[in-house]
């Protein structure tokens, strides 16, 4: 591969300084996304998905220590001064948030908010920017965009507002779009439309997408590659198809078992993962999933397993990977 990936993250860590001491919300996360591809980050609440996204954007508060390398199209941005980092936001990388209902400024019209990105980064005049904003709104399939552009957020539905957010994020054609649970707050039918829209725009513009979600159904339909995070670390990283076909980390196996699926025997209970996420201020010394893992061995509690390839492009942080034999033995 000659062209550098749109985003390459190496050894990313984010440490919150709390009253109880430093808390590593993200610990040694590495992945890469090529232009026009989608990488999904999955995991349960508090596993560090959102912090990872905010760290890439440079939006974490100053008391959070971020370390590691973040390369945007080959250029190291983690060490840039805040002012230069700010200029990348909205232009080279953009983010769509979970809550479309509250992510728009109530005092401005939809069009003005989309226009702002263009005025900030491309120096367009108010009028030019607004005209482009109307085009963008039409582009994200908002019917009657010219009229909608003059409406205020409270006059728009949730799905419509998320389209406006996407229009804002993509107005300057960024290399990277971070979508943090973009559909969690929306109706199921609207969810599918929004995700299809993101896919379409991605294909069109070659933007790389990092899709943060806890919905494995979404991952299966929209992601090319998947990173499974647990307690701030990567548990497993794999192409989407491989992950679903042959999960190589017990946590992934548990997640797949916990996902509701049509056609499963009626009346059967969804599998759950026993136990709870560890206290992040005092994580267990070895594998962080060990206390909940059905396949744990003595070593798991003592030594943290490194993320190692079990197949080309498929890495798992588990001492017992590859898991095929383990799973067979359990079945």
């Amino acid at each position: 591969m000659s062209a550098p990936p749109a985003l390459e993250v190496r050894g990313l860590a984010a440490e919150f300084l709390t009253d109880r001491g430093p808390l590593r919300a993200v610990d040694g996360v590495s992945f890469a996304v090529a232009p026009g591809r989608t990488l999904a980050i999955v995991g349960e609440s508090g596993c560090g998905k959102s912090v990872t996204a905010l760290a890439i954007m440079g939006l974490l508060p100053p008391h959070v220590r971020v370390s590691g390398s973040i390369r945007l199209a080959g250029r190291e941005i983690a060490t840039l001064p805040p002012e230069e980092r700010r200029r990348l936001r909205g232009a080279e990388m953009a983010m769509v948030f979970q809550e479309p209902m509250t992510s728009l400024n109530p005092a401005f019209t939809a069009g003005e908010q989309v226009a702002e990105a263009l005025r900030l980064h491309q120096g367009l005049s108010r009028r030019e920017a607004f005209a482009r904003a109307v085009e963008m709104l039409a582009h994200v399939r908002i019917p009657d965009a010219a009229r909608r552009a003059r409406q205020y957020p409270h006059q728009l539905s949730g799905g419509m507002r998320q389209r406006v957010m996407i229009a804002m994020a993509l107005a300057c054609r960024p290399r990277l779009l971070l979508a943090d649970e973009p559909t969690t707050a929306l109706d199921v039918t609207v969810q599918a439309q929004i995700l299809a829209l993101i896919d379409e725009l991605k294909r069109e513009t070659g933007t790389a997408v990092v899709l943060i979600t806890h919905d494995l159904g979404v991952v299966a339909d929209h992601a090319d590659e998947v990173v499974v995070m647990y307690a701030g670390r990567i548990a497993e990283r794999a192409p989407a198809a491989a992950l679903f076909a042959l999960p190589q980390h017990p946590y992934t196996v548990g997640l797949l078992g916990a996902a509701p699926r049509l056609g499963r025997a009626a009346g059967g209970r969804l599998a759950s993962i026993e136990g709870a996420v560890p206290d992040m201020a005092r994580p267990p010394p070895g594998c962080r999933f060990a206390p909940r893992c059905p396949f744990r061995i003595a070593r798991c509690a003592e030594e943290a397993p490194p993320l190692a390839e079990v197949a080309p492009g498929h890495a798992s942080a588990c001492w017992r990977a590859p898991l095929e034999s383990v799973l067979e033995a359990a079945a």
Binding site: L88, A107, L120, D144, R148, S157, M168
Partner: protein
């Protein structure tokens, strides 16, 4: 427009939050009454040279402390000056003192409050403690001290009022900035690459205009009273120029023999202050998001 357009829009055209508030304010009868009273007083104050029947400073030895009559509707004072003319001219001093000092207070207080709220940390702590310290001193005492320090003059009284009022705006703006800082839309604005000053001035400020407007209106009422109090104490408008407070000051010696000297400026203060309070309440209701569903 295609026939298969999505769900019908809630409103044909976008109604800005400001327009909606205006529409609701106009339905608020008592507030509207207050607004009309203020309009009348402002008009009278602006048109004082044409409205006042006499020169407010012209004394007359033949008309000392005359009760209200056809020639002098509000009577005359101890120097034979026409009270109506003095009330009309006094409206200039009082209204100007109220409005200008509050504008000044907001101009000082709002930026400081926004900076404190946004910057946080040591800067916030220092600015907030200064504001708290100022608020802990009884307001009139601080104003009297400042006015006495600056010297007796209407301009100095206004400045003193502006300074004593500014911490209220610091606190309000700081609180609103703190609220705003935690909102998703400020996070989204940051994600779009807005520099901090732009977020404060262009994103947050428009959203805190409603409470600032309500606070300012109520503060004007207080500032008018403050100006009257300072003038009453001789620290505001200097004689012989009229202001409602200084008129009350000279009226106190004649409360029994010539009550009209106190009644008319007193009534003017009462009406204007009441009206500003009514308008303030009306604005608060008009901007109240909870009163939305109607």
């Amino acid at each position: 427009m295609s026939a298969t357009a999505a769900a019908p829009a809630p409103a044909e055209r976008g109604e800005s939050p400001g327009r909606r508030a205006l529409r609701r304010f106009l339905r608020h009868r008592i507030a509207l009454f207050g607004f009309l009273v203020i309009v009348v007083f402002v008009t009278v104050a602006l048109a004082a040279p044409w409205v006042a029947p006499y020169d407010p400073l012209a004394t007359s030895w033949t008309a000392i402390r005359k009760a209200p009559s056809a020639a002098h509707w509000f009577g005359t004072d101890e120097n034979g000056r026409d009270v109506l003319s003095r009330v009309v001219w006094g409206a200039r001093a009082s209204l100007m003192a109220g409005v200008v000092s509050v504008l000044f207070a907001a101009a000082i207080g709002v930026p400081i409050g926004l900076v404190a709220g946004f910057a946080g940390g040591v800067l916030d702590a220092v600015l907030s403690r200064i504001a708290d310290a100022m608020l802990s001193v009884p307001f009139l005492i601080l104003a009297i001290a400042l006015a006495a320090f600056l010297g007796p003059a209407l301009e100095n009284a206004m400045l003193a009022i502006a300074i004593t009022f500014s911490p209220v705006f610091v606190r309000l703006a700081r609180g609103m900035a703190l609220d705003a800082k935690a909102t998703d839309w400020v996070e989204a604005a940051r994600a779009l690459g807005n520099p901090p000053w732009r977020i404060a001035a262009l994103h947050v400020l428009p959203n805190i205009v409603p409470p600032l407007l309500v606070q300012s209106t109520l503060a004007i009422a207080e500032a008018i009273i403050a100006e009257a109090a300072l003038s009453f104490l001789g620290l505001g408008q200097q004689p012989p120029a009229p202001s409602w407070g200084s008129m009350l000051n000279s009226a106190q010696r004649f409360l029994e023999s010539a009550p009209w000297l106190a009644i008319f400026p007193g009534a003017a203060i009462f009406l204007v202050v009441l009206s500003f309070n009514l308008v303030g309440d009306g604005l608060r209701d008009a901007f109240d998001p909870r009163a939305e569903r109607r």
